[in-house]
């Protein structure tokens, strides 16, 4: 009797599709711990990311589909998640334990990339994900200021590992913690290479669902070293709407395509200004650039972030806007973009990537 009911329930759930992965949630393996007792049905939906943007929608759809079955009186759905990540992430030599490594990049400076990276990391963490933020902006690290950690230094363990600092629920590492903020960092290529290597191998991140890398602007030494040493899972490109910024964003995008890093999408920052008094929307840096580029290059436009004076204030005071004003409009937009990134990352991971990390010790008869 019970087994028939279970099958009926699974059949009903099979009609529910994940809108991003385009498959039904039963064959995706999302349904766990299905229990039927009399008229009560319990099950768990295990999503591929806690930041799933359609979380509530899926829950409601499953509940109503099962409740509609004859004989079902009560439906109890538990939502959990197990973040999908790169293959064999547990035993990776670079960044072990980190499931997804996402670079936030821009072709051009001054587009607010660090602000976007910081707020995205916080928005992802708010969904329950374990998040780390690595400030790779070797020349102008801004994370210590944005997180109110200026002058703080990370602990170094006995085996020479660097422990990331913690702020607003995320783990954080920046070159700014290793140098004083008043002295400029003047380094040649080999130094840049070395410090990035150290960041990738010596920082003890622990288990992370997402590690956000805030890249320095451009397509130079630091970016190349990163794409060669870190197995980036994906990249997002931050741009502003005007043409000069878009030209550089295109270059950034082409760099990632060249090194086979999936571009998860574009974020258009400083998209518009909405007057807080009259509600008038002004496209200060012209409009529609991000949309145009997204169409032209075939990558999703993940979202458009307005100009908000609170972004600067909160950032300068050491609490980025997503943490300082979580109910505000800008924070809500960040939350939507974080969901879109997580969804795109899940899509990439479901496609199955390359053969995991390659590390072969050649065997010969002589040796």
């Amino acid at each position: 009797m019970t087994s028939i009911a279970e099958e009926q329930i699974l059949n009903a759930l099979k009609t529910v599709k994940d809108p991003d992965l385009h498959r039904d949630i039963v064959s995706l393996g999302f349904i766990k711990d299905l229990k039927v007792e009399g008229g009560t049905v319990d099950f768990t939906i295990e999503l591929t990311t806690p930041a799933c943007p359609v979380r509530d929608q899926l829950k409601q759809e499953c509940e109503s589909k099962v409740r509609a079955l004859p004989g079902v009186k009560e439906v109890r759905v538990e939502m959990t998640s197990s973040t999908r990540g790169r293959s064999r992430f547990e035993s990776a030599t670079v960044l072990p334990g980190v499931r997804n490594i996402i670079a936030v990049a821009s072709g051009k400076g001054g587009v607010g990339k660090s602000t976007v990276a910081a707020n995205l990391a916080l928005a992802l963490a708010k969904t329950g994900a374990q998040v780390g933020l690595l400030d790779c902006d070797i020349y102008g690290p801004s994370m210590p200021l944005m997180f109110g950690l200026v002058g703080r230094q990370p602990e170094v363990t006995a085996d020479e590992k660097i422990l990331p600092l913690k702020a607003h629920g995320i783990r954080l590492m920046s070159i700014g913690f290793l140098a004083t903020e008043k002295a400029p960092i003047i380094w040649r290529g080999p130094m840049v290479h070395q410090i990035i290597q150290q960041f990738l191998t010596r920082v003890e991140w622990g288990e992370l669902d997402y590690l956000i890398l805030d890249l320095p602007p451009g397509t130079g030494d630091a970016q190349l070293t990163l794409t060669q040493s870190a197995p980036l899972s994906g990249a997002v490109i931050v741009t502003t709407p005007q043409e000069v910024s878009l030209i550089d964003a295109r270059k950034g995008l082409q760099m990632f395509q060249k090194v086979n890093v999936p571009v998860l999408g574009l974020i258009e920052n400083m998209s518009y200004f909405k007057c807080p008094d009259c509600g008038h929307v002004a496209h200060i840096f012209s409009g529609g650039g991000g949309e145009k580029m997204s169409e032209e290059l075939g990558v999703p436009l993940l979202g458009q972030i307005p100009i908000d004076s609170a972004v600067v204030e909160t950032g300068d005071q050491g609490t980025p806007i997503v943490a300082a004003k979580p109910e505000g409009q800008t924070a809500k937009i960040y939350q939507i973009i974080a969901g879109a990134i997580a969804a795109q990352m899940s899509i990439v991971n479901m496609k199955g990537g390359p053969a995991g990390p390659v590390n072969i010790k050649w065997e010969t008869k002589k040796s």
Partner: protein, 100 residues
């Protein structure tokens, strides 16, 4: 993109690709096709390395991934500066079908 990169035998590297094609690369063949700036002139594209200097018994000591797009081979002759991108490796697959 490859699904698997492994040593086939003492003198052969094997790559299984996403389209299920399998490429087998003899070590000497791979070493001679190194694309690094030391082996190929960066401006003219001319091969600077003398293929006759590559000995019969050349083999990798170690192979490591480079980002998501390629591998670096540490050769028994001490050469290790070349990055073999997966795109390049697929292009130089020595099987009869691919050669055509």
């Amino acid at each position: 993109m490859p699904l698997e990169v492994k040593q086939a035998d003492e003198r052969t590297l094997a790559i299984r690709w996403q389209d299920e094609h399998e490429s087998l690369y003899p070590c000497g063949y791979l070493r001679k096709l190194c694309q690094c700036a030391g082996c190929v002139d960066e401006w003219s594209g001319q091969r600077r390395m003398d293929p006759n200097q590559i000995t019969e018994d050349i083999h990798p000591i170690e192979i490591q991934g480079v980002g998501r797009y390629g591998i670096r081979i540490n050769w028994s002759d001490g050469h290790n500066t070349g990055i073999y991108t997966f795109k390049y490796l697929r292009e130089i697959c020595p099987c009869e079908k691919c050669k055509q």
